[in-house]
């Protein structure tokens, strides 16, 4: 491998990594906001994302709707599903004094149900793809090749994340969510409706998952197993720090770029194992993640 090749691979890897990383970052943010406000690692995150892809697929393929209608409806469906799950199932688990293990198992239950439901529709039997939102003709940036679709994905992801940050910083709801994340009981004391905030956070997470699904699915084949993407989102969230939203964004880009560089320099086979190595290394070196702040100590 000559110097020029390495330079080319670096450019291509980093730019492609920023594009895929932006989608991982979105999903990682969805994981982190739920983890922060409800202390639950949502193992159904990938399935919510998958359901988003299938709802969009159903509307485009079977109903024949146009994209401008498909996107808002998809987002609404996943958002309502996620919010309902929190309201109906998770609140009930909390009420019957379920803690960590029980809450996690409830999200696993959701994951199985969603996967099974998608399979019963019959859509899941063959891999399909959505028609692209933008042209896939090549654009050169430096020496790297991207498509218009890539640029659109990146731009939308960045805009969504900027809006999220603005919401957390300036709106009442966003501040209530942050307050619950810092100290749920304290937030409740000052008048925050805990179960309402938790429901909204799950809804928000569903919204983000649906956007990520609509963005990335024209690029990848849709199968009931694309929920695996969420493992990368988890890796991103852990690398950045499970309870830090900026950390999740940073982690998403790190994982995306690392994945592409590993694919270009080592082998595409090694991509699968890279995120786990990243998780293990980060957890050993800095268990709280890059932007995780100080390690919390449980009090008796």
């Amino acid at each position: 491998m000559s110097g020029a090749d390495i330079w080319l691979f670096l450019q291509q890897g980093i730019l492609s990594g920023l594009v895929t990383g932006s989608v991982y970052a979105l999903l990682a943010v969805a994981v982190v906001i739920i983890f922060k406000t409800t202390d639950v690692p949502n193992f159904a995150q990938g399935e919510l994302f998958m359901v988003g892809a299938y709802v969009a697929l159903f509307l485009v393929l079977v109903m024949g709707w146009a994209y401008w209608l498909v996107i808002p409806v998809t987002i609404a469906v996943v958002m309502v599903a996620a919010a309902l799950f929190q309201r109906v199932v998770m609140e009930r688990v909390i009420a019957s004094r379920g803690v960590g293990v029980q809450l996690v198992i409830a999200t696993l239950g959701l994951a199985y149900v969603l996967k099974g439901l998608v399979r019963t529709t019959g859509l899941g039997d063959t891999p399909r793809s959505l028609p692209p939102l933008a042209s896939t003709s090549a654009i050169m940036i430096g020496d790297a090749v991207l498509t218009r679709l890539d640029l659109l994905i990146f731009a939308v992801a960045i805009i969504v994340m900027a809006l999220l940050f603005a919401m957390f910083a300036w709106t009442r709801t966003g501040r209530a969510m942050r307050a619950v994340g810092m100290n749920a009981r304290g937030a409740q004391r000052v008048g925050v409706n805990l179960s309402r905030v938790r429901m909204m956070v799950w809804g928000l997470s569903g919204l983000i998952s649906a956007i990520a699904a609509v963005l990335i699915t024209p690029k990848i084949l849709i199968t009931p197993d694309i929920a695996h993407v969420a493992i990368l989102a988890f890796a991103a969230a852990i690398v950045g720090g499970m309870s830090s939203v900026p950390g999740a964004v940073l982690g998403g880009f790190i994982i995306g770029i690392a994945e592409n560089l590993v694919g270009l320099f080592i082998s595409t086979n090694a991509i699968v194992v890279a995120p786990f190595l990243a998780i293990m290394i980060v957890l050993i070196v800095r268990p709280q993640g890059i932007l995780g702040g100080r390690l919390q100590v449980k009090k008796v």
Binding site: S96, V113, L117, V273, F276
Partner: protein
Amino acid sequence: MKSRFDLMLLVVAAVVLAVLPMFVTGYVLYVVNLLMVFVVLALGMHLVIGETGQFALSHAAFYGIGIYTAGLLNNHFQLPFILSILAGSLLTACLGYMLGALALRMRDIYLALSTFAFGEAMQWVFMNWNSVTNGSNGFRIAPAQIFGYALTNDLRAYPFVIVITALMLWATVWISRSQLGSAFRAVRESDIAALAMGVDVNRVKRMAFTLSAAYAGLAGGLYTTFSSFVHPESLGFQTTILVLTMVVVGGIGSVRGAILGAIGFGLISELLRQALSFQEIIYGAILMGFMMFAPRGLFAERRKRVRITSTTHAPAPVVATRASGESA
């Protein structure tokens, strides 16, 4: 009261298992063998989650390592199956010890995620280390030998599977009643309080991980005695979740719950094997339903306070030890 009930259960189970081969055919025996493997897996998970309260999601990985180690030793060296099983169990115990040492730095969700990462990475190894595991084509296991007696079918393996499962059950109850078992539960309730009481928390956690991994490795070895094929697909996160479900739905902290959970969920997953989508929906609904309405499971350890104030005529110290060793 309770231990008499357990004794009755054990006697009934022993009788049923003893007469079973006279009435049923190969497939049912295969399922019983498989359920016994699940029982051993669930007992291992019980030690780490039920007794010690550590959230480990790497069970399928250790199970897989046990299968491949025992299977490879058996295929290439025709070792007696006892030796190959022990070798697999020993290897997973060592790996469990190392994972436990890493896990000391983490708690709760970070622990769950790092063990999850370990499990996924191991599945990748099974899938891709073609020269050893035969990768995604699956791995064929030759029949194991014991003193020249080949375990060629389910019926021949059956007695050994039952005996080893019974031994593991006895070991679990013994561990649970030993000082180590009390230390496990002390760490589960509060590791800081346990530390203050003079429990070597790090050692206890490492022991829990080591033992649990050894159980899973042994379960893998047990699997090789009656099964002739394994695919890495079946050694992933789903299997870990299946075992976790057995323990949690059966009842966290209860040996009886772990066993009955293993049998119940093992049967459900075997019965619904043909209808994948319905299996997933039913399975998910059971998980959610139990967590909503009985989050501590069917046979959960009762709250200690209830036990101690219950009207028993035994002298106080005996009641106290019974309460702490209650999960047996």
